[in-house]
């Protein structure tokens, strides 16, 4: 596909793309501060950093999406000004975004054609798509509509679309955050192959083990500045984390000797049709969460987690009152407010627009879930000081950083808003907490705070259900882990038995014990 000559250059003397002292200023805020970065052919280069470290900004500059305030880009030694992504693509830079830019109701080939210059016929594009997909072992049916595809398959479209432009440099933004461990392994094979073809790869991630395994070089950003460039294979995960965070991250510790007897949240044979045509049907889901324990639900996004959350919170009612039991009472037909009054609390996945109203003040967002049972409303009138007091308490207990006392939700950074959203519920001391993706897109410090708060809540006797795609997170907090696949929930595994391997198989749909033991045996034989 690509002239393989760069791969045969062992000295890697000339960088393909150099960022020289790149700065980007937004108002008073320096998102990038004099960053130098060299990307060489036939090399996988990791860009590591917490949320807000400036990774996305730097990558957007390199892809021509934004203009740097200072510094310059050099392509094969020549200074270039990228006034837009199309210029970047013409040079040979391809990008796979974290949030896919696909049209759900169009098929694969149509989506790819939309991203390519209109000089090629649709038939030719379909043919080239099939060929590219075949060559790289990324099976895709060009005729299939996107909404029918799993997240992993959608990512393949993005990768194939980028590869069809034959890029010399491919940028991937957090590509494994939506994949099962097995799907991630497949992706790594493809990336190794692209590297062998002489392409440069810039791999953005915050998963350290992955970077150690895959990448030749790692550049670490913190607070908009470059901290170091190193060989990740010679570092430990802990040393990389220290460079990312600039200090030790507090270890999350579970309290011991918890009493886990009383079932506080019970789901009994819950089946529910989706209300959205692209949604997932819940099939006979059963689970028991006892006071004092954290149960995790793993699974690739789109397997019914959203529908389960809506059914548990009461945003959608269950078919019968007995399908969901909170504190011994059937609540399947009660609404969100009534469930909150019974001591339940919920944290949805989407912070902006679901967990909070973005353009409303924090005090109003405190009222959003607090109006049911927190004394914030007296005879229909809002007790404004009480809502502000709740904001202050949350701010203090969860270290929410904000510019003023009562800003709009949208002005907080992701991590701080998530601390607010989780803290807002936990401070109400719920007996049952259902939380979806508690640390999605949140920096390591905030993630540790949130996870510790969940553990502490369980230690005080609450039943906590955590829905997460992040297996490391579940391993850290959960006592038992169940897996969701195609709307069905597996029997929960004890955390000690829930290896990545077993969970990964369940996430891919292998739901019998026998199959997983067989695979394990095979691996054992292979090793």
């Amino acid at each position: 596909m690509l002239d393989p000559s760069p791969a045969s250059d062992p000295l890697r003397s000339a960088p393909l793309l150099s960022a020289v002292s790149i700065s980007k200023r937004y108002g008073d805020f320096l998102a990038n501060d004099g960053i130098d970065l060299d990307l060489f052919p036939a090399e996988i280069h990791a860009l590591l950093g917490e949320n807000g470290a400036g990774k996305s900004t730097l990558v957007k500059v390199m892809y021509g999406l934004i203009q740097p305030s200072g510094g310059e880009l050099r392509w094969m030694g020549q200074k270039v000004v990228l006034s837009g992504p199309s210029e970047a693509r013409n040079l040979g830079i391809g990008m796979v975004f974290q949030h896919f830019t696909l049209f759900e109701n169009l098929n694969v080939a149509e989506n790819v054609a939309l991203g390519l210059p209109p000089t090629e016929s649709f038939a030719a594009i379909s043919e080239r798509l099939r060929e590219t997909a075949r060559v790289y072992g990324l099976p895709l049916d060009p005729k299939r509509e996107v909404w029918r595809l799993s997240v992993g398959e959608r990512q393949r479209i993005e990768i194939v679309r980028a590869l069809m432009q034959n890029p010399k440099l491919l940028i991937l933004d957090e590509p494994t955050s939506v994949l099962t461990p097995q799907e991630a392994d497949l992706l790594f094979v493809v990336l190794e192959r692209l590297k062998a073809e002489g392409r440069a790869i810039l791999y953005i991630s915050h998963k350290l083990e992955e970077v150690k395994r895959l990448c030749d070089t790692a550049t670490i950003l913190r607070g908009g500045k470059k901290v170091a460039t190193c060989n990740p294979r010679q570092e430990t995960a802990a040393s990389l984390a220290r460079m990312m965070v600039g200090g030790e991250i507090g270890e999350v510790k579970a309290a011991s000797g918890r009493d886990t007897l009383v079932p506080r949240l019970v789901i009994k044979n819950l089946s529910l049709e989706p209300d959205d045509p692209h949604g997932t049907r819940l099939e006979d889901v059963s689970l028991e969460v006892r006071g004092g324990e954290i149960v995790g639900i793993a699974g690739v996004a789109g397997n019914g987690q959203d529908e389960l959350f809506a059914a548990l919170s009461g945003e959608r009612l269950a078919p019968g009152e007995g399908a969901i039991v909170i504190e011994g009472e059937g609540v399947g037909l009660l609404d969100v407010t009534q469930r909150r009054r019974m001591g339940a609390a919920f944290v949805p996945e989407e912070r902006l627009g679901h967990g909070t109203a973005p353009r409303m003040k924090l005090s109003e967002n405190a009222l959003l879930t607090g109006h049911a049972a927190s004394g914030m409303v007296k005879k229909g009138f809002i007790d404004k000081p009480a809502t502000l007091a709740h904001v202050d308490r949350t701010t203090k207990s969860f270290d929410v950083r904000k510019a003023k006392r009562d800003p709009e939700a949208v002005s907080l950074s992701g991590g701080n808003l998530q601390k607010f959203v989780v803290g807002r519920e936990i401070l109400r001391e719920p007996r049952v907490l259902v939380v979806s993706q508690p640390t999605w897109g949140v920096d390591a410090g905030a993630a540790a705070t949130i996870r510790q708060a969940l553990l502490d809540l369980a230690a005080r006797g609450a039943a906590v259900l955590v829905i997460s795609q992040d297996l490391d997170e579940l391993a850290e907090v959960a006592d038992r882990i169940a897996v969701m696949f195609h709307g069905q929930l597996s029997a929960p595994l004890k955390a000690a038995e829930a290896t990545r391997e077993r969970l990964g198989l369940l996430m891919g749909g292998a739901n019998t014990e026998r199959e997983s033991t067989e695979t394990e045996t095979k691996h054992a034989v292979g090793a």
Binding site: S313, A357, R359, H371
Partner: protein
């Protein structure tokens, strides 16, 4: 160089307050140019339109009379629009309110029934408007019909209903066959406040009271919070546990009641009887008032007075400048256009982008 709209981190409160003023200023400039093209002296024209009505106690009272229904309808509409519910049929609710209240006035005409007559008429007007407003609300909640279409179509039904009543059963026998009811008895009429100097009536005081009531509802109560939340973030509102359907019914009922109340006040006040000319587009003009007033009750009060000024000024200009009365509608259209344009500056800012690098001056 390139002009781009850039999203602000937080809404600009300064712009939110000043945007209607900027819009008014831009409209006045545009209007002055328009007058100049028409061969009139722009300064004189603007004076006739916007200053002259303020210099005379009679026209001052006229402005308040005109603003009363506009403001009352617009604060109700604001409730709907804040919650993203599109009640376009205030005109119909206005008519039905007028008809329902008039029913009692016509039934009791010529008899002395006591001082309860007028309050009950006002109550009937509000109830009639509320029930009529509930029709599109129910159609939306239970059948998924677009309230924009149903509420608008119901305006025409109300209009024809009014026409039937005043030409048929309620026609004044002594009315020389004109389609009108008999003039209301004094007990069924709202008197003027300052006898002999103008037409200002007690309905204006009710309108002020309504403005305060809705301001408190929106700003201080859980109900008002629900209305704002449903409009700002519907998914968060559902998560909050609020029932969006109930809110549709509530908003339509309240805005219908206020439009109906405005209708009966207009009939029992300045007009004094029911005839087919009662609906004069207040329900539609109130839509502009609601948006010009930033969907804020106090803002709507100011906007309502301002629009009333353009009506009165337009009448004056028609006489003294010989310009068509339709110019007032042009003015209102231009104004709405500028308001919407200025509003985008609350969330966005305009930025000049340099695509080329700046030339660094060489120091000698």
């Amino acid at each position: 160089m390139q002009l781009v709209l850039e999203k602000r981190a937080e809404r600009s409160t300064l712009i939110a307050v000043t945007s209607p003023l900027i819009a008014v200023a831009l409209t006045l400039i545009t209007f002055a140019i328009l007058f100049a093209i028409m061969g009139k002296n722009p300064i004189e024209a603007l004076y006739v339109y916007f200053i002259e009505p303020l210099t005379d106690p009679f026209t001052l009272q006229e402005i308040a009379v005109k603003a009363t229904p506009l403001v009352m309808i617009a604060v109700g509409l604001a409730l709907c629009y804040i919650a993203n519910i599109w009640n376009i049929g205030a005109e119909g609710q206005f008519i039905v309110g007028a008809v329902c209240g008039s029913w009692l006035a016509v039934r009791t005409n010529g008899t002395d029934v006591g001082p309860w007559l007028l309050p009950v008429m006002l109550l009937l007007g509000a109830i009639g408007g509320a029930l009529y407003g509930l029709i599109p609300a129910i159609c939306r909640v239970y059948f998924g019909a677009s309230e924009i279409l149903t509420s608008l179509m119901l305006v025409y039904i109300a209009n024809l209903g009014l026409d039937y009543m005043v030409r048929g059963p309620w026609r004044d026998p002594q009315g020389l066959n004109f389609p009108t009811t008999a003039a209301f008895d004094p007990a069924a009429s709202i008197g003027t406040l300052f006898e002999g100097t103008g037409r200002l009536h007690a309905g204006s005081i009710i309108a002020l009271f309504v403005v305060m009531l809705i301001a408190v509802l929106l700003g201080r109560t859980l109900m008002g919070f629900q209305i704002r939340l449903v409009g700002a973030a519907p998914r968060a509102a559902r998560f909050s546990g609020f029932n969006a359907d109930r809110l549709v019914l509530f908003s339509f009922a309240v805005s219908g009641a206020l439009a109906g109340l405005a209708g009966i006040i207009e009939v029992a006040g300045p007009i004094g009887h029911l005839d087919p000319g009662v609906p004069s587009g207040y329900g539609f003009t109130a839509i502009i008032v609601a948006f010009l007033g930033r969907l804020n009750p106090i803002g709507i009060l100011i906007a309502g007075l301002f629009l009333a000024l353009t009506f009165i000024g337009g009448e004056g200009a028609q006489i003294s400048l010989k310009v068509p009365l339709d110019l007032t509608k042009v003015f209102q259209g231009i104004l709405l256009f500028y308001v919407l344009a200025c509003d985008s500056m609350i969330v966005y800012r305009i930025r000049l982008l340099r695509t080329q690098k700046r030339v660094v001056p060489v120091h000698a």
